[in-house]
């Protein structure tokens, strides 16, 4: 049923010359959707043809509408021979399927050919008439909105957060099919592009279905990735967070919106029971027992249904569970009501399992309490436990049945279970800022997942859950949010139940430890929070999320990177996989050490946006960890770094040590100045606050900001001799009198070297890999998004680890330096969202790709900052309209705290024994858990802050948007000026307000050349390809009526060359959200409900 797709081909311009004799082209167009093809007339002898065709109408299923792209092919008519293709345009019509997104696609789109690149442009009009399908057995999910943005989209309010959704589809890679031997490279590339376009459409549709099942209407933080597994196939997978979003009526001031609970959509109400399950106390066993179940045997779709729970329950969660294994069943499950009814008839076996397990289900219901969001409303995060990450090394085998991608599913499920268990070990019930990635080399594949363990606020849950949380006294030694409140007494609890207006979070709360201080899952030095003085906080906190808006930061932050290279022997199959998994823990450990050291060197105590990437090559492994370091005011001041020699022997040696020490101290002092870190010297002690503290803590707090003991806080050293030693070393470190560095170790010496050789950032620049820089508020509207790619060849085969490290570090440093130099005209500016991707495309090649946005800001004009602050608080409140479907499982892990450390490895081992393919990763996982389990922190009341939008005073009053300008100017063939489209990896544009989200842009391109030298060598080839990709993205955004792309990311950039054959090939996948923004200063002038045609004038500021 149910959709009519209409397309009209208006004109073409700048077409290439196809007929040498006349220097002209006889162009016509084929429009194809599914199996239907239409053609326009031939427009003879013109490079700027005007077809002005009729409307081509396709009557299609909405399922196809979601899966298929509209395919437009421009050809040159040839009377005597076959018609030559000029190029193609794929149009994803998904944005037209949601009533809130775009209504028409209209504009000039580049005609793309995989061999020649962009060859002219074509002007098209595409519309969809959609008949609403209320059939609950439908296969389609039209209308579900997708957002790449990992925070709540700016013009929406969250009614409910349902949780994690994931899906993957697999297929054979056309590049590896037998037919590829006889077809042209162009045909092969196009087959691949088309297949991937189809697969992502299908994936999106399936995820949409899951969201509908859960009762949501949107996916936020949608992350789609491709795994090019070569011979074994092509995997497209995606994760996201299902939400119910309400569009903010623009007239309403955000803070007047009432409590969210009343706003939950009707169809989401039934889901509330999930939190009501009476089975809290039996959760712990689930934890160690369950993962094997989930992996074993056939899918058990409904096993997690709490059949005993009296209220109606939402079938959505079990479904999401089930569908990760087989989605066909899923779609048959009714959307609302007693979901079990439908499914019981189908599969009796699973139901039994279900009944048996129902007692454990409360936790399991929330299949994966995992969120891909990185930005939350204030108060949403109660506590943050630290980074949890898991890696697993797998051997790829051919996917035999693409319709049932069980192995891949099982792999990921296993990993998510482990992540969850790690989080539990940290006393947390949820994982936020979650992401997944792979690195593939030949047949070995490293699957990685990481996130931040966190406790979420029950205030954001529904009523039922709150009850559960409150009654859970037995478990409440854990800093369960509700109980923490009551321990503090004082109306905190009551404020909890009231709306959000008075929900000013326990401001330093998010840094407080979620785990039990006497049964810490890992060694940490705890102190009392420097802000509230009541709760314990760790000395350092690592997270993968963005800096919470309410966090109080001293000074500014900076990008901190740890880089590591390790050689490995070339090997095949299992041997190779084993050696990789043996290397992994040490790499993680060293990366972690480097991060710690660099953090201390900058006198900071917390990392946000941590992203650790490990890439595998034939003979080496690369590790790159990037994060934004900040000084959180609620955490203790970091200690310095002290160098110690174990056996001080002679004088010169001591001298050397002291020189080094001095250099380090100098650097720290310099950095403090540079990042403006001047924490308050001493606290006025409130004796009462400290009663009951143990002496150790008092000593720490009372002492100088950098007590000697702390000053010598340990600096992790990898011993890399044996694994036993490693874990022991780590575990015992906390208790020992810490020392910093044994200089008798060469590696250590090298470390110091690398510490000190990190080039300083040039004046006027800041950099971070989070959305915005802590401490900078007054952004101007100048911004420049860029991508830079470098490939280095290591010409000497005789590489050592240390030599490689040096090279790799230099490489990254130089790249950064080049970026600073390139962007010097924007000073003062900050490179935000610096995203490094490393790869080892071939033996002895290292590829580094960076995408970031440079945003300039005004040197402090305080009024502006103040203004931004107030504005920011308004905005935060708007985001408070946020509630969350999450039951009170925060307490789970507390039952058997001591069992936890052993629990993790245990489950990991069980996994490996049952997993359908070899798992080499469990040891690595275990180690990484320990290493990553880092600490907590305090946050404060300041409510404005980082996320604020800069003041608008300086902004040009000219409206930038020229959306739909094409409508008015369509008649002009060539003269219409090009819409300026801004692109940014961030979720916002400073100084502007996003008024409409037009849909997700997700594009995949292949470019190949057989004349590499003629195109300017590899650099020229890639340069023009990236420029073309940008151009196509901009054109599609403009055609949707947008003037910016936010949350842009380049997921994949695979570059292969064969200089001897003069050939190269490159694959790029980009995504983002197309939006319409208006300058803040125009807000009043233009009616917020965007009229589809904005007055346009050429972009006033040149940048973007």
């Amino acid at each position: 049923m149910p959709g009519k797709l209409k397309a009209k081909i208006v004109a073409g311009r700048h077409l290439p010359v196809m007929d040498r004799a006349s220097d002209l082209t006889d162009a016509f167009v084929e429009v194809k959707f599914g199996n239907t093809t239409f053609k326009t007339d031939v427009f003879p002898k013109s490079l700027n043809p005007q077809w002005n065709s009729e409307w081509f109408k396709f009557e299609v299923d909405d399922e196809d509408l979601q899966d298929e792209p509209l395919q437009i092919t421009v050809l040159d008519h040839d009377t005597y021979s076959a018609n030559d293709a000029i190029g193609k345009v794929y149009i994803d019509i998904d944005p037209l399927l949601s009533c809130e997104a775009a209504t028409v696609i209209s504009g000039w789109l580049p005609i793309y050919d995989t061999i020649h690149g962009i060859r002219g442009e074509i002007n098209v009009l595409v519309k969809v008439d959609l008949f609403n399908d209320l059939n609950r057995f439908r296969q389609s999910s039209c209308g579900v909105k997708f957002f790449c943005t990992t925070s709540i989209p700016r013009c929406y309010r969250v009614a409910l957060v349902h949780g994690f959704v994931e899906e993957l589809v697999v297929n054979e890679d056309p590049e590896y099919q037998w037919i590829d031997r006889i077809r042209t490279p162009r045909a092969s590339n196009e087959a691949r592009q088309r297949l991937i376009s189809l697969m992502s459409g299908e994936l999106q549709r399936k995820i949409g279905l899951k969201v509908l099942e859960m009762g949501g209407n949107a996916v936020v933080g949608y992350l789609q990735c491709f795994d090019l597994e070569g011979e074994s196939g092509l995997v497209v997978r995606a994760i996201g967070t299902a939400c119910t979003l309400d569009k903010l009526s623009p007239g309403t001031a955000p803070n007047t919106t009432t409590h969210t609970n009343t706003h939950t959509l009707p169809n989401t109400a039934p889901t509330s029971n999930a939190c009501n399950s009476p089975s809290k106390d039996s959760k712990e066993p689930v934890f160690s027992e369950d993962p094997p179940h989930s992996l074993s045997g056939p899918p058990t779709p409904l096993r997690t249904l709490p059949s005993s729970s009296p209220p109606p329950f939402s079938p959505s969660k079990p479904c999401s569970r089930q569908s990760s294994s087989s989605d066909t069943d899923l779609s048959l499950t009714p959307r609302i009501g007693m979901g079990s009814g439908g499914s019981v008839g189908k599969e009796a076996g699973p139901l039994k399992t279900l009944l048996r397990q129902h007692t454990q289900s409360a936790l399991e219901q929330r299949e994966f309490p995992i969120f891909t969001l990185t930005c939350f409303p204030p108060g949403f995060l109660v506590h943050v436990g630290g980074v949890v990450s898991t890696r697993s090394v797998k051997l790829l085998d051919r996917i035999h049945n693409p319709d049932e991608p069980e192995t891949r599913d099982a792999w990921w499920e296993e990993i998510r279970q482990e992540i969850k268990s790690h989080a539990k070990a940290l006393g947390c019930h949820a994982v936020v800022g979650y992401s997944e990635s792979t690195s593939i080399c030949e047949e070995v594949c490293i699957l990685s997942a990481s996130g931040t363990a966190a406790m979420l606020n029950p205030r954001f849950m529904r009523e039922g859950c709150l009850d559960t949380g409150g009654s859970d006294h037995r478990l409440s030694r854990q800093p369960h949010p509700g109980m923490v409140g009551s321990e503090r007494g004082e109306g905190e609890v009551s404020s909890t139940w009231l709306g959000f207006e008075d929900a000013s979070p326990p401001s330093c709360g998010f840094v407080h430890i979620p785990y039990d201080e006497f049964n810490m899952p890992f060694p940490a030095q705890l102190t009392y929070c420097y802000h509230c003085r009541r709760q314990k906080v760790p000395d350092v906190l690592f997270t993968t999320i963005d800096l919470p808006a309410e966090a109080e930061v001293t000074g500014k932050g900076c990008l901190i990177q740890a880089r590591l290279c390790r050689t490995k022997k070339k090997a095949q199959g299992e041997v190779n996989a084993t050696s990789i998994s043996n290397l992994l823990p040490f790499m993680e450990y060293e990366l972690h050490t480097q991060l710690m050291n660099k953090l201390k060197l900058r006198s900071m105590n917390a990392l946000f946006g941590l992203r650790i990437q490990i890439s595998v090559g034939e003979n080496m492994l690369l590790g790159l960890a990037s994060a934004t370091g900040v000084y959180l005011s609620a955490l203790p001041a970091p200690g310095g770094i002290q160098i110690a020699g174990k056996t001080p022997s002679d004088l010169s040696y001591d001298q050397h040590i002291s020189t080094m020490q001095k250099r380090i101290d100098d650097t720290i002092a310099k950095n403090k100045e540079l990042y403006n870190i001047h924490p308050p010297k001493l606290f006025t002690l409130d004796p009462e606050a400290f009663t009951g503290l143990n002496t150790e803590c008092i000593e720490e707090v009372v002492g100088s900001p950098i007590p000697d003991r702390q000053r010598s806080s340990r600096l992790f050293r990898s011993t890399s001799e044996s694994s036993d030693e490693l874990s022991e070393l780590d575990l015992s470190h906390g208790k020992k009198d810490a020392f910093v560095l044994e200089i008798d170790d060469t590696d250590a010496v090298e470390d110091i070297q690398s510490l000190l050789t990190d080039a300083p950032i040039p004046a006027g620049f800041y950099s971070c890999n989070t959305e915005v820089m802590p401490g900078i508020h007054n952004w101007t509207s100048g911004l420049q998004m860029f991508t830079s790619v470098r490939v280095y060849r290591l010409s000497n085969a005789n590489l050592t680890n240390q030599g490689l490290n040096k090279i790799f570090t230099d490489l990254c440093e130089n790249l950064l330096k080049s970026l600073y130099f390139k962007l010097r005209s924007m000073i003062p500016c900050c490179l935000c969202h610096l995203n490094f991707t490393v790869a080892v495309p071939e033996e002895e090649l290292i590829q580094v790709a960076v995408t970031a946005v440079a945003m300039s800001f005004d040197k402090e004009t305080q009024q502006a900052a103040d203004k931004a602050l107030t504005r920011g608080s308004g905005e935060n409140e708007e985001q408070l309209q946020f509630s969350m479907e999450l039951c009170g499982e925060s307490t789970i892990s507390n039952n058997q705290p001591t069992a936890k450390p052993s629990g993790v490895p245990e489950s990991a081992m069980v996994h490996s024994s049952r997993a359908p393919s070899v798992d080499y990763g469990s040891f690595a996982d275990r180690c990484s858990t320990w290493l990553e389990l880092l600490r907590l922190k305090a946050h404060t009341i300041r409510r404005g802050s980082v996320k604020t939008i800069s003041s608008s005073e300086r902004c040009s009053p000219l409206p930038e948007g020229r959306s739909r300008s094409l409508r008015s100017t369509r008649s002009l063939p060539c003269g219409a000026p090009v819409t300026v489209v801004k692109m940014t990896p961030l979720s916002f544009l400073p100084g502007t307000r996003i008024v409409k989200y037009l849909g997700i842009i997700n594009m995949f391109f292949i470019r190949e050349t057989t004349s590499l030298r003629e195109e300017g060598g590899v650099s020229g080839f890639l340069h023009s390809f990236i420029a073309e990709v940008f151009a196509m993205v901009r054109a599609h955004v403009a055609a949707l009526g947008g003037n910016a792309l936010v949350s842009y990311s380049m997921k994949e950039c695979v570059f292969m060359e064969n200089p001897n054959k003069n050939q190269a090939q490159c694959l790029i996948n980009v995504s983002g959200d197309a939006v319409i923004f208006i300058r803040e200063s125009d807000q009043e002038a233009i009616p917020p409900l965007l009229t589809s045609r904005q007055t346009s004038s050429t972009g006033a500021d040149g940048t973007t």
């Binding site: 000497n796 030599g803 130099f821 962007l823 040149g1102 973007t1104």
Partner: protein, 453 residues
Amino acid sequence: MQIRYAVFTPILCRTQRFNCAINNTRLQMLFTQTVPGAIYLLATVSPRLDRYITLVKAYKMSMELDVFVGNTTIMDMEVYQLWLDGLTVSDAVKVRMDEGALLECEANPEVLTSDTMDQFRTFQMCERLLHSPTKLGSQLLYQIPAQNQIILIERYYEFDSVFAREVLGKKLSKGTKKDLDDISCKTGITLKSCRRQFDNFKRVFKVVEELKGPLVENIQRHFLLSDTLARDYAAIVFFANSRFETGKRKLQYLSFQDFAFCAGQLISYWTIGAMDSMMEDMDVDLEKEFLNELKDLKVLVNDKDMMDQHKILVCAALRGKIKVYKLMEVNFKNLSRALVNLASKLTHTKDVRDLFIDLVEKFIEPCRYDRWTVAEITLFLTHYTNAAHCLGTFRHQMIWDRYMGVIKSSQCSPLLHLSLIKVNYLSPTPSISSVSPPVNILNELNTFLICKL
């Protein structure tokens, strides 16, 4: 023998020694600050063996690929100029280093090279678009802010007047293009830059050659150039089309700007468009009909009465007003004959081409010989022109005005103007212009030295 590594550079800036224990062997290690780029591997040997073997091995990494693409195309206009000047990347890097680019943002030569390469590549990729500037505005490939687009185009089409002077009036053909290396040697402009400028001339010429309407406007519309630049191109097109002779030695003192002015005058007086702006005709060619009609002016010198009358009128007007009155009176007939004959000859293409050389030989040189000043000549020509109107029997007023319009203005302006300055240089009378050169030279020298230092 235990071999370990240390990082080591050819320039040992600082060496630190200390003992380390690795695998129970004491090793002597050398550490240095490294300079990015060249990295060497230094292996040392256990001190127990009491000797060092420094095995320095080239340990290089080479950048295979280096790309930077911004959503807005970043273009450094200084680098753009270097590219336009036809410098190679390494030369451009040197120039930039000399200009102090290294001081910015703590750059090092490597960074600078990478940036320069990248910029050059960007320009090279944009060059295709610059060939048809109107496309630059509507293309989607590079997002370039409008004001940058204007600068890009303007600079791309700017040319060295020295170069233009060399090519002026020549046929814009492959043959001329082959001679560009001579011009390059002669003018000191890189061959690459010469080629670009030549190709620009040719491109503009090809586009506007057949177009109707005003030349300057056509150029502006198709190439989006500024008014002044468009006028210069109009001159080049005009000269190339009519193939005026400009290479003769006697014309060497004239600069490109002098000719450009003349071209402007010729276009506004002698082409079809000049007389009837409504007429959809070309500006590029001189009006044939008009040139034929110029023959009729012969009456001014052939008819003895008319000539005498003309002389009397002019003399009456100029008496006492010019110093060279006596000489003028004596030479009037010669001068008048020269000017009128020049006009009547213009029916032949060959003579049209020789217009300037004839003008100089037949009119300017005699005047220069007699030491006329600019003001005097101007005055003379004005009255010479006006006096013709008063001749009762002279019926070709229109043609006369059109003809003299060019002669008069080009005489009183560059053509004559400069020629007289040249004369003044030689003459004992000090003139204002003769004072300035030394100052200029000094300044130039200073700047030169400063640049070099």
